[in-house]
Amino acid sequence: MSVRAFNIAIGGEAGQGIVTIGELLSKLLVRSGYHIVVTQSYQSRIRDGHNTFYVRTCPDLIEAPQESIDLLIALDGETIPIHSGKIGAGGLILADEALACEDERCLRIPYKELSKEKFNSTAVLGVASSILGLDREKAAALIGERFGKKHPEDVKENLLALARAFDWAAGNNERSAKFPKVAAGGGGAVQFPKASAGGGARMMMNGNQAIALGAVSAGARFCAFYPMTPSTSVPLTLISIAEKAGLVVEQVEDEIAAVNMAVGASYAGAPSMVATSGGGFALMVEGVSLAGMTETPLVLVVAQRPGPATGLPTRTEQADLGFVLHAGHGEFPRAILTPGTVEECFHLTRRAFFLAEEFQTPVFVLTDQYLADSFRAVEPFDIGSLDFVRPGSGYAHGGGPTGGAAPPGGEAAAGATAGRSGPESGAYLRHALTENGISPRLIPGMSANLVVTDSDEHTEDGHLTEDLEVRILMVEKRLKKSEGLIKKSVPPEYAGDDAPEILLVSWGSSRGPVMEAARALRENGKTTAVLHFSQVWPMAPEAFIKYLDKAGRVVSVEGNATGQLAALIARETGFMIGDRISRYDGRPLTPEYILRKFDSLAGKGSSPGGKE
C-alpha cells in the first residue's frame, strides 16, 4: 500500500497498562500533528491473556488499520513470538531487557532502572516517544495533565521517569546506540514520517466517546444502560460529563428496564438514549416496538460484537444489521445510521436525535467494537452551529437536519378526529392523523393538555381502541412517516472511478479499510470505486442503483458471514451482488485482508452481478 503510515503495536497481558500507554502515545501523536487509527484487540478477562493496542499513524488522514507492524512495544515475553511475523522489514521491537528475546530487531530496555519499578507506563512511553522523535516537552505536558488530576503526588516522579526514558533512548547509553532511531530513517529502519508542525490542533476520541459527545451536543438528557462490552464506554463517557452537561445516566437492573426507562423519559420530555450490544439489545426488542407504537423518540446505540449469544465479547463484527432492521414485532418506521468514522459517530448520533424527535420513532446508531474503541484525531467541532432538539415542539427548530415541519396545533386541528367522546372531545390529540403521519407532540406537564399514549392500538387521543377502522388509519399513519424518513436519509457515498471494473459495497465501520483497499486496487491498474452506506435504512434505491448497474463486478465487503447489506440491497432493488468478501473472525476488516480475499475471489473467476 502506498500510504505513508506507520504502525505501532503495544502488546502484553491485561492489567499491564497497555491501554494507558496506548492512549498516551496516541494523544502525543495527535498533539504532534499526526492522524491515528487505533485498533484495540483484547480478551474477555481482566488479567493475563494477550492484548494488543495498535496505533497506526500518519501525518495525512488515514482511516484504516494495518496488519504489518513497524514498531512493536512488547510488555511481556509472549508478545514477541505472537507478533514478530508481522513486523515489516526494518521494523523494531522494544522490550524489557529482562525478557528473553532472540530477535535481532529487538531493543532491550532497562525499564526497571528507568521506571524505578513504579512508573513503568511512563518509562515505556518515554522510550517509544523518544525513538519516534516526538517532542519531550509535549510528552511531559501530557504526563503532567494525566497524573495531575488523579495522582498529583506522583507527577514529579513520573516526569523524572519520563526524562530518564527519553535520555536513555536518545542514545545516552551503549545499547540504544546500536539502533538507529526510527525517526531518523535510513540504515534499513522503517521511515517514521515527519508531521508538519503547522497542523491545526485536533481532538482525540474514539467512536464511543464521539457518540456520547454527539448525544450531549444534540440535547440528550437521559441515558439508561446495563454494562455490556463494547458499548459501555458510551454511558461511561456520558457519566464523566453528566454533571457539567446536565443529564442523568442510570445503570439499571437489566436491558428491559433500560429501554422502557428511556421511552418513559422521552415521553416526559427528556431526549433519551440507550447503549448496548447484541445480547443486551435482544432484550430491548419489545421496547423498540413500544417506541414505534407510542411514537416516542428514542435513540439506540448498538455496538456490535460477534455472536450468536455471548460469542466473543471483546471482538468486532457487523452481523446485526438484519437483526436491528427487523427488531420488534409489528410494523413501524425506523432509521439505522451506520457511522464509518469517528466524526460520523458524532454527527450521525446528533442526526439520530433529530430524526427520532421529528419522526417520533426509534432511530439506531449501529457501530461495532472496532470503531467503538478506535481513537482518531478529530477536527474540533464548530460548537456555535450545533443545534439541539427541543422535545414537545413537535417539529424541528432552526437549521438542524430535520428542517421545518408544521408547528404544533396546525396539523392536529386538520386531522380527522377518531377520538372518544365524552368530556375529552376537543382535547389534545397526541396521535392526530396528519398528512405526513407526524402528530404534533406535547410533553406532559408543559401545558394544560393531557398527553395520553398507549402500547395498544389507540385512537387519535391516545386511548386504547379495538375499532378496526381506526386501526387501518393508524397503521397507515405510522408507516407514512417512512416517506419522510427516506427523504431525510443519508445517501450512500460513491467514491472512485466512473463505471469501474470493480465496485466495492460496504457499510459502517468498514469504510476506511474499503476505501484504502480500493485505492490499492486502482494503483494496481483496475478501475475501482466504493459505494459506502453510512445509513442502511431507509434506503432510496434511485440514489445508487445506477452505480451498481454500471459496475463490472460488484463485491460486497462486510464484517459478517452472510452478506447482510448485500441481502438488503437485493431486497430493495432486486440487484443481486455477485461476490462477497466476509470477515467473521472477530477482527476488523483491514485493507490487507480485503486485498487477499479479493485475490482469491478473482482466482475463482468473476460471478456476474445484477438480476438473476
Binding site: 439508561a224 427541543r390 368530556p423 393531557l450 395520553v452 386511548h463
Partner: protein, 283 residues
C-alpha cells in the same frame, strides 16, 4: 382546588361487579385528597385488566408494556421530577413479568406511588395463576393446583426497607383512598398492594373472603418499627392486616440525584459554554 369531577367519568371494559370499579373511584378521591390536578399527574400502567384503569380518568397516561410500568415510570419521573408519577397495574404485571423492576424500584427508592390491583389471578388472559395466587388454587392452567408459593409483595418490600408499604382492599373505599393519598404524598417509593376481587376468574379469593379477613392495623401500630412490620407482613391466612405496615424516610432517588437540582431535565437546553469546556477535555 381539584374536584372528583375533574377526573371525569368514562365507560370501562371491566366485568360488572369487579373490584376495579371501587379502586378507580378510590383513586380519584385519593388524588383529590392529595390535591393533585390532572395535568400534574402522569399515570403509567402496563397491560392487563387493571392496567386499563388510567384510561378511565383524566390525566397524562403512558400505558406501556406488560410488566414494564415501573421502568417507564422511573424514566418519566427522572425526566420531570416535578410531576407526580403513579404506577397502576395488576399484580401479574408488577410482581410477575415485572418482578425485577419491583426489586430495583425499592432499592432506588424512586419517587413513585405504585398502586397494585392484586386480584391474585391473571384476569385479562382469562384466569391463569398469578404470582400472588394461593398455593394449591386450581385454574385451567394449573389443574393440579398452583405449585409455587404465593409471592408476598408486602413481605419482600419490608424486608428490603421499601420507603412506604401499605395494603388495602377495594371493599374499604375510604381506607383505600387514604392509602393512595399517603402513597402519593410519600417522598420515595410507595407501594399499595390492593386486594381486588376478580369476579370472573378468582372464585377463591372473592369479596367475602377478603371482607372476612381484612383488619385495619391498630392505631398504635408504628410503621417505623421494622421488626414489627416484618411480622405483620407475614400475616395472611386468617387475618389480613391492612394499613401502612411500614415506612421510613430514606432520601428518595430524585432527592439524591444532584443533577436535578437545576430543575427538570425536560426543561433544559444545551449550555454551549459547558459543551465547549467538555470538548476541550478531548484536545
Amino acid at each position: 382546588m381539584t374536584k372528583i369531577e375533574d377526573y371525569g367519568k368514562y365507560e370501562t371494559a371491566w366485568c360488572p361487579g369487579c373490584g376495579n370499579f371501587s379502586l378507580l373511584e378510590a383513586m380519584k378521591s385519593g388524588l383529590v385528597k392529595a390535591g393533585l390536578a390532572p395535568d400534574r399527574v402522569i399515570f403509567v400502567s402496563g397491560i392487563g385488566q387493571a392496567a386499563k384503569a388510567p384510561h378511565y380518568l383524566n390525566a397524562n397516561v403512558f400505558n406501556g408494556l406488560h410488566g414494564r410500568a415501573l421502568p417507564a415510570a422511573t424514566g418519566a419521573k427522572i425526566a420531570n421530577h416535578e410531576m407526580s408519577v403513579i404506577v397502576e397495574s395488576g399484580e401479574g404485571c408488577c410482581y410477575g413479568e415485572g418482578g425485577n423492576h419491583f426489586l430495583a424500584a425499592i432499592r432506588r427508592n424512586i419517587d413513585i406511588a405504585m398502586i397494585v390491583h392484586d386480584n391474585q389471578i391473571y384476569g385479562l388472559t382469562k384466569g391463569q395463576a398469578s404470582p400472588t395466587s394461593q398455593e394449591g388454587m386450581k385454574t385451567k392452567a394449573q389443574p393440579g393446583g398452583v405449585l409455587s408459593e404465593r409471592f408476598n409483595p408486602v413481605a419482600v418490600a419490608v424486608a428490603m426497607h421499601a420507603g412506604f408499604v401499605a395494603r388495602s382492599f377495594t371493599g374499604m373505599p375510604d381506607h383505600l383512598s387514604d392509602m393512595i393519598n399517603l402513597a402519593i404524598r410519600h417522598r420515595g417509593f410507595a407501594l399499595v398492594d390492593v386486594l381486588q376481587p376478580c369476579v370472573s376468574f378468582n372464585k377463591v379469593n372473592n369479596f367475602a373472603w377478603y371482607k372476612k379477613r381484612c383488619r385495619e392495623l391498630p392505631p398504635d401500630h408504628d410503621p417505623l418499627d421494622w421488626e414489627k412490620a416484618m411480622k405483620i407482613a407475614m400475616e395472611w391466612d386468617e387475618k389480613i392486616p391492612v394499613g401502612v405496615i411500614y415506612k421510613n424516610d430514606r432520601a428518595s432517588f430524585c432527592d439524591r440525584l444532584s443533577v436535578l437540582g437545576k430543575g427538570p431535565l425536560a426543561e433544559r437546553g444545551v449550555d454551549k459554554k459547558e459543551l465547549a469546556s467538555i470538548l476541550d477535555e478531548y484536545m
